[in-house]
């Protein structure tokens, strides 16, 4: 893909690309990974604490408690996005705040807020899944293929 693009360019453009690449600041991979590890881990600890409150104090069965925990984390994320904190966290933590489910909610809430000026139907309704949509599309396609493969290799699974 990148090579194809490169071939279409004039020699001057190619020279510029090489120059730009040389001066691109190296990404501090290790530091970013440490940040992502700590923030991602902390978000999971918060999730674990919420889940423990649901299972131990409110005596909700574990499956429902896990679902309720995800919904609660999403609500927290949307609130933090609304007051502008989550996006600041995202700039610092990178994947640490993007990979947890809170990042999924953040991408939806920030897209909804950002496109509000285009109206509620075309802006909020149409653009909300701008980033989250790819997660749902690829997740669904992969899940159906995986489940179908299971059925093919384990035909007795169905109905049993």
């Amino acid at each position: 893909m990148a090579n194809k693009q490169l071939k279409k360019m004039t020699p001057v453009q190619q020279e510029y690309q090489a120059l730009a690449k040389k001066h691109e600041p190296p990404r501090p991979l290790l530091l970013n990974c440490i940040k992502a590890f700590f923030v991602g881990g902390l978000i999971c600890i918060v999730g674990q604490a919420i889940q423990d409150i649901y299972t131990k104090s409110l005596k909700i069965p574990i499956n429902n408690a896990a679902t309720a925990t995800v919904a609660t984390m999403i609500l927290l994320s949307v609130i933090l996005t609304s007051i502008g904190i989550y996006d600041k966290l995202g700039q610092w933590a990178g994947a640490g705040s993007a990979v947890p489910v809170t990042g999924f909610a953040n991408s939806m809430a920030s897209a909804a807020i950002e496109h509000r000026s285009e109206g509620f139907v075309l802006g909020v309704g149409g653009q909300m899944f701008k980033l989250a949509g790819s997660v749902i599309v690829f997740g669904t396609v992969a899940a159906i293929i995986v489940a179908a493969l299971h059925l093919l290799f384990n035909p007795n699974l169905s109905g049993g």
Partner: protein, 117 residues
């Protein structure tokens, strides 16, 4: 207490995988998330995600990989109960709460919050 330590470590490690994909392989965040969801679905297909959840709790259920896991799980559950149609009716069974919550809360955020700039 050990549950919290493992939640921190496993959850953190999944985020590090995402960070390496973004920085090391120069993927966009959208590509990273889509890849992680597919990885979660495949891991569940191999039967490895449930043990990880038992072991790490929220460390495995909070990262987006668990979304792929839940999609497969819902599809399989319905597949067992109602056959091939279950593939279609079951996919969003377990993730419905998460998606619904995200849509609903995001809509209200857009109602009440003014965009910056």
């Amino acid at each position: 207490m050990t549950q919290y330590i493992w939640a921190f470590i496993i959850g953190g490690l999944i985020c590090v995988i995402g960070q390496i994909m973004m920085d090391g392989f120069k993927l966009t965040p959208a590509h990273t998330m889509a890849t992680l969801v597919v990885l979660g679905a495949i891991t569940d297909g191999l039967g490895l995600y449930e043990p990880l959840i038992k072991f790490a709790g929220a460390g495995a259920t909070i990262p987006i990989t668990s979304f792929g896991n839940s999609l497969v799980h819902g599809a399989m559950q319905e597949l067992k109960e109602s056959g091939w149609v279950g593939l279609m009716t079951g996919v969003f069974k377990l993730t419905s709460a998460g998606i619904t919550a995200a849509i609903f809360f995001s809509f209200f955020a857009a109602l009440f919050v003014k965009p910056k700039g």
